[in-house]
């Protein structure tokens, strides 16, 4: 399954092994993992999503990347629910004949995920305060690199 939305953690090594299984004509594998970053006092990160739309949006992005970069395979996993500092939030993996395609496709997926996949992050601090993470204009701008708006 090239797209998964789940509350459970995932094993990057295992996912990559499964993705590569039986494929010998790929020369390049790129992965990216987003982690809950503790930049001072963060106690937990809560991830809300839009069930149904999320899976459809991720599947669309995955298919677009496979087509555009002629990937042998691609994978997107995104977690929801309550996560702790250091936890894995999501991962993408791209398997391509050559390195530039693998890197570009992974970067495209990350740029697109940021503003096209219906997830919302809320940060909970040790002080008891909580704050919804604001979308950043640069995340929207990053998509223009790929000819997307």
């Amino acid at each position: 399954m090239p797209v998964r939305v789940q509350s459970e953690d995932f094993d990057l090594g295992r996912e990559v092994t499964l993705l590569r299984a039986g494929i010998t004509d790929a020369g390049a594998l790129a992965t990216f993992s987003g982690l809950v970053r503790d930049d001072g006092g963060l106690q937990a990160m809560e991830l809300e999503h839009y069930p149904g739309m999320t899976e459809a949006a991720l599947a669309e992005l995955e298919a677009a990347a496979v087509t555009r970069w002629s990937l042998q395979a691609a994978l997107i996993i995104h977690r929801h629910g309550r996560l702790n500092p250091g936890d894995q939030i999501m991962m993408v993996a791209t398997l391509a004949p050559h390195r530039h395609a693998a890197f570009e496709a992974a970067e495209f997926l990350m740029d697109a995920l940021k503003s096209r996949a219906p997830f919302w992050k809320k940060e909970h601090f040790a002080t008891g305060e909580a704050r919804w993470v604001a979308a950043r204009d640069e995340d929207e701008d990053a998509l223009t690199r790929w000819g997307e708006r």
Partner: protein, 83 residues
């Protein structure tokens, strides 16, 4: 028609519920928003300013003047912050 209306993230917190069934004659998202504003003070306050709010019709992001023809599910939410 009856629409399922969904709210997410801080917009959900402002409205107070994640989901409601809405009976409406609205033919566009903008008309639906007028109906929702009329529901109560909380809805009126949440929908007072549409700046920074996005809407999806049947799970596809759309402009506020989008038609509701064929719509079953409409969702309102802030800009996404996944990844």
């Amino acid at each position: 028609m009856t629409l399922t209306v969904l709210y997410f993230a801080w917009f959900r917190e402002r409205i107070g519920v994640p989901k409601e069934e809405v009976e409406t004659k609205a033919t566009t998202v903008a008309e639906l928003i007028d109906d929702l504003r009329a529901r109560d003070d909380r809805h009126a306050a949440a929908f007072a300013d549409l700046e920074g709010i996005k809407v999806a019709v049947n799970q596809k992001v759309q402009p506020f003047d989008a038609s509701l023809a064929g719509a079953q599910e409409v969702a309102f939410f802030p800009p996404m912050t996944g990844g």
